[in-house]
Amino acid sequence: MRRPNFITIWDRAGLAVVVLSSWAVFAIFAEGFTSKFNVFSVGRLVSILIVVGLAQTVVMGIGDINLSVGAVGGVVAMFFGWLVAPTQLGTAGLASGAPQDVTALPGLGINWQFAFILALLFGAALGFINGWLIVRSGLHGFIVTLGTMGVFSGSMYIITKVKAFRNLPEGFLGFGKMKFFDLLSPLVFIMLGVVVFLFFFLRSTTPGRQMLASGANRRAALASGINVNRIVISTHMLSAALAGLAGIMLAARIGSAIPTIGTGGGGDWLLPSFAASAIGGTLFTGGSVNVVGTMFGGLLLGTVENGLNLLRVPGFWVQMITGLVLLLAVILDRIRVVAVERSRMGAAQ
């Protein structure tokens, strides 16, 4: 371990300090911020945001980007909805004689836990398409995922005719509303599970380490006997599976699978995914990811969003602030990298 000094400590703990201070500020000024219900709803919001951020973080780890996180999230959520929605649309809840809900779609009525697994595999399959196209064409992820973003969401809109899967099974809806200690959603535990898994995956497993090595220096990784192509594909699969997971989590939160998950409804995922990663210290140039950082990044973004909502600040300010925070984060990181390089050059001479 490097010798701890102010900078390395700030590197590790600075973000946590910022998050805690934002909590303190909102606790004082925003009425209801500390209420049990608000903590519960912030927990759900933040968990989804963090998983979206992690979907981007892993791809940034190999020095690539994934513009299709939102599209994949929406498509996987809809796929999940299709699997679990009842085969016949019930008329329960509608006034007798009223026309059937025209915006709802029937599904397959599969057990939701099983469907959950299938949906994640489906997400990974979409990621395989991204990764395979990138590897075969030798192009950057930007343009490939820009294209697949259009293809994925376009096909989904066409297939679903922009209708939603509403009558999701009770078990799943209950899962979304479940509270532990009257305070925490199970989504928080899913998120924590993903964070812990990724943390150790990237640190202590061969594929995880090979991902980071490929991101840090593709040529050196190749020259060290790593199958970089396979790494690129599996990273995109992981990213898409995470985006899909976030989509299902959002469906659990809002209680239905709607097509605009990831791209419209809850705001576009693209910006927050980059912002959470960059705030957390993950580099756009690859090789250096900070899973815990992304968690705190998402926590900060979610807290600020919720706090501003409570203060009745219109939602678009949140988007603006997210963008500016992203800008600030990358500029600060850049300054740090340049400073480190300078001191290294100085030491070498």
């Binding site: 202590s204 061969t206 090979q210 290294r344």
Partner: protein, 528 residues
């Protein structure tokens, strides 16, 4: 632009520098056109220039020669504003000047043809030549007719048969090189610097170029000609400056007063006094890597070589001879397109580094530590264990960092890698230690054949000796090593046999008896 200036005047005799043809102001104060004095420039781990000097008069063609890494290119880059020297001064006509950017060097009339490829893709030949100041016509718009007309003049001068309007992407390599030369000449500088201008030219094209350069000289231009081809130096240049280890080897000498052998002696010098390496006790074993008439996708032709267990085969050649390309083909980065590769007597097809390593136990220590050898932002321990992560993981795929450190530690000790800890980021290690790390990762992987490419470039003398002993010891332990080096003393010191490569072919083999003067003369014989 007055192209007439380029046409030699009828009465002008070659070699005479009649001031009448010089633009006003040239050599006004009787000082040489260019003086570089006591130039020093260091890179991490290496003193590239250590008080180098150079004087150029108007109307002189000066040869600048030296072995790979002698500092020629660095000196040129200092002169053209790409590098800033740490010490020393540059004077033009006795006035001290500084070139913070290439633009400033240009302003002082220095025209440069760099060694690297330097054309703008998708642009026409003419525009590439005239790019520095595109002529403008009406409304300040770029005047293409004038561009192509003027470019035509420069192309005709060099007898280049390409359309000025053609895209540079459609040109052959020789044509591209000629376009770059035309660009440098078109700048009409007082000082013309050509870095390996003839590398891909035919003899006829070279002769035409020389004619042009002589004419320019007669008009008072000072020309610095950097080349590996000594015969060209003798055919063209008036004087010669030899660099070795960043210093001048001997003073500037008139070309008539020195012969080939004299130049070669200055270039290679004497072998540095180093301790004798101990006698190796293990003899050489059976062949472990054989190439039979191998052709490669990267230009290797009909290459045959055999490497035995417990043997060091040296591969010498100039930059661009195709040695690195051969190594990359052996380990599966580039393709072997013909012939056979045998590993331990069995025919082998190696398609990736992964299979070279896992199936055939061949490793490659890249010459390019920074971009290919190491992952600079990762810690030492990961850079060594990268080749064995799969072996270290347990049943559930977990890599215990204790086991990892325990595995890596012995290699760090054996190679005497000096680092604060195993978690130190390799970027902060010295060049020598970085090189040892890139050796260590292959040793950890347990290879039988190691291809080592330029192991000591940019490494200081003490560490260099240390690395030599290390390589020696590895062979003693039974590895077969293919040593690629442009460092003559190094290859003579280490190799059992030396193969000399030139333009993708093996030109000759020398059984090395470690007698520096004799062997270096033999090697030079194959190259020049």
């Amino acid at each position: 632009m007055d192209q007439e200036r380029m046409v030699p005047e009828a009465q002008d005799q070659a070699g005479s520098t009649t001031t009448a043809t010089l633009p006003p102001g040239r050599e006004a104060n009787g000082r040489p056109l260019l003086e570089m004095q006591g130039i020093r420039k260091a890179f991490p781990g290496v003193q590239a220039l250590d008080g180098a000097e150079l004087t150029l008069k108007a109307g002189e063609i000066l040869a600048l020669v030296g072995e790979n890494g002698a500092g020629k290119s660095t000196l040129i880059k200092v002169l053209t504003g790409l590098y800033q020297p740490e010490a020393g001064e540059i004077l033009i006509e006795g006035m001290e000047v500084r070139f913070p950017t290439p633009r400033d060097a240009m302003k002082h009339g220095i025209a440069h043809m760099p060694q690297e490829r330097n054309l703008i893709p998708y642009f026409s030949v003419g525009e590439n030549i005239m790019l520095e100041s595109l002529p403008r016509g009406r409304f300040g718009l770029v005047d293409y007719d004038r561009i192509h007309r003027e470019a035509r003049g420069w192309l005709d001068m060099l007898e280049v048969q390409v359309e000025s309007r053609a895209s540079v992407d459609d040109l052959s390599i020789a044509q591209r090189q000629l376009v770059e030369i035309a660009r440098a000449i078109s700048r009409e500088g007082r000082i013309l610097v050509l870095d390996e201008p003839t590398a891909s030219l035919t003899p006829h094209e070279t002769e035409t170029l020389f004619g042009v350069l002589r004419r320019l000289r007669d008009q008072g231009v000072g020309i610095i000609f950097v080349s590996h081809k000594l015969e060209e130096v003798f055919a063209l240049c008036d004087n010669i400056v030899v660099l070795r280890d960043g210093k001048n080897a001997g003073n500037k000498t008139a070309i008539a007063e020195i012969d080939r052998d004299g130049v070669v002696t200055r270039m290679v010098g004497r072998a540095p006094v180093t301790q004798e390496l101990p006698e190796r006790t293990e003899g050489r074993g059976g062949p472990i890597l054989e190439l039979q008439h191998v052709n490669t996708s990267s230009g290797g032709r009909d290459i045959s070589l055999t490497l035995h267990q417990g043997e060091i085969v040296g591969l010498y050649g100039l930059v661009g001879a195709g040695r690195t390309e051969l190594a990359r083909a052996i380990i599966g980065i580039d393709k072997v397109t013909g012939g056979q590769v045998l590993v331990k007597g069995k025919k082998a097809t190696i398609r990736s580094v992964k299979s070279a390593l896992a199936r055939h136990r061949i490793g490659y220590v890249s010459e390019n530590r920074k971009e290919e050898g190491l992952i600079q932002m990762l810690p030492l321990v990961s850079n060594v264990s990268i080749t064995i992560w799969r072996k270290l993981q347990n049943l559930v795929g977990w890599i215990s960092s204790r086991l990892e450190r325990k595995t890596v530690q012995p290699f760090v000790e054996r190679l005497e890698i000096k680092a604060p800890s195993l978690n130190t980021v390799v970027a902060s290690l010295s060049g020598g230690n970085q090189q040892k790390v890139s050796l260590a990762k292959w040793l950890a992987a347990g290879v039988d054949v190691l291809i080592i490419d330029e192991p000591t470039v940019g490494i200081d003398v003490r560490t260099k000796a240390n690395l030599h002993e290390l390589i020696w010891e590895l062979v003693q332990r039974g590895l077969g090593i293919l040593l690629i080096s442009s460092d003559m003393p190094e290859i003579v010191r280490l190799a059992d046999r030396i193969l000399v490569m030139r333009r993708g072919e093996i030109k000759g083999e020398i059984a090395n008896d470690h007698d520096y003067e004799k062997t270096s003369e033999l090697i030079m014989g194959f190259i020049h």
